[in-house]
Symmetry: none
Subunit: 225 residues, 2 copies
DNA sequence: TGCCAATATTACATTTTGATTACAATTTAG
DNA sequence: CTAAATTGTAATCAAAATGTAATATTGGCA
């Protein structure tokens, strides 16, 4: 899964700064355009987390938070220039999950975001998904997608592709693969691996990934560009 | 449900103060006795949330947090006298969920606790409801509402749907579901789950939710958009 | 080039998994 | 206490996933 954040903040310089910081951690973000319909924009964007400024044109952050909370439990972090405890208490009573005061340390914002994603979506920096080129392997539902099309994989195919994705541009030996897929089951025919590979190739071929999975005779399997 | 907290803090005056504050909000709390086996005491107490001081005799809070995280996802709030961002960042990277600096405002601590309980356990001060998209599950009268129509569910169906609603866009393994629904009854046939799922699907199908409940073969059940 | 081991392919057998159905047991409400 | 609702069990089914074996193909090397 890839995590999309939504930024409700009218200072466009700050928005740009935050987006840049998020991007360097692999998070994508959209930001609010029309401060008259923040709730509508959020409903359309379906973000996994919201950064909410307090002082906004038209209505303030408290108002929108309350409105959002009527229909959604999406995690919300407040951005505020007020550092009094009472402001933070109010924000959290309105349904915010965390609060950070401006100006803030970007690294601190990132760990707060990660903590919330971790709790709400079992986010962790390795598991969940892996990518190679424009391909993303989703370990939640065993699907591979190239930005446009999705291909459903089986458990073993996912395991195998995951192993390749975690060692891009490196030859992975057959032994490693066998261990990873079948661990202790000693009776597995060595040929079974060929078959599994073939099945994987045929499926991912539909979206053009097969050509990147090469077998190096006598060495193993290589995922390259 | 009533919530039990665990306080890891060697300043007994502060412990007493926190316990008093928590009590006035209806939370019970135990505190650490032997700072050599914090993990053991916590495992025994099974708290819903932990307050963790940084400076402790023998080992510090980071050490214990890391140790706890190997086996548990219980929410942890750090109590620290250091207010530098870098300390908070470190704590959260170790697996903490929030951080508060001493001396702190008791009301602020309470709202932080409530925010975490709300997120992790669907704690809410008034209504027993969970939502997903436009669907609202009422845990009090076991009814599912889509804004227009209502569907009556049974106890088990509600439990199951509630579990899915609390883990949207994640595959919930059959094991997790079994534990959640049948806890200790060890003799329950694995097939019973299939049957319960089928019954749930057929009921929620009337208002179009069935299509969002997908089974990922070999993994579990996934609620998605 | 032509051989040979490594790998691929194909077809089929086996196993796993989950859905479905009918029915029995149990719980709950009136 | 009884009837209805709920829940659990067992049997059956279909489909998907996986494994095996037989056969074909490939690529490196003598």
């Amino acid at each position: 899964m890839d995590y999309k954040l939504f930024i409700v903040e009218d200072n466009q310089e700050l928005v740009a700064l935050i987006k840049k910081g998020l991007a360097s951690w692999g998070f994508s973000a959209e930001s609010c355009q029309n401060f008259n319909q923040v709730d509508k924009e959020i409903a359309a964007a379906k973000p996994q987390l919201i950064l909410m400024d307090v002082n906004l044109p038209f209505f303030n952050g408290f108002y929108w938070t309350q409105k959002i909370r009527q229909t959604s439990q999406v995690p919300i972090i407040f951005l505020s220039s007020r550092s009094e405890d009472s402001d933070q208490i109010m924000a959290m009573n309105f349904g915010a999950d965390d609060y950070i005061t401006k100006p803030f340390n970007m690294d601190l914002l990132i760990v707060k975001i990660k903590a919330l994603l971790r709790r709400e979506y079992d986010f962790s920096e390795d598991s969940g998904q892996t990518s190679f080129l424009n391909y993303t392997l989703n370990l939640v539902d065993n699907q591979l997608w190239d930005g446009a099309n999705k291909v459903a994989l089986t458990k073993n195919e996912t395991k195998l592709l995951h192993l390749l994705f975690s060692h891009p541009r490196q030859t992975v030996s057959k032994e490693e693969i066998m261990t990873d897929l079948w661990e202790d089951e000693l009776f597995i025919d060595r040929n079974t691996l060929s078959v599994t590979l073939a099945r994987l190739r045929s499926k991912v071929g539909e979206i053009g990934l097969a050509g990147h999975i090469k077998t190096i005779k006598g060495k193993g399997v290589l995922l390259d560009d």
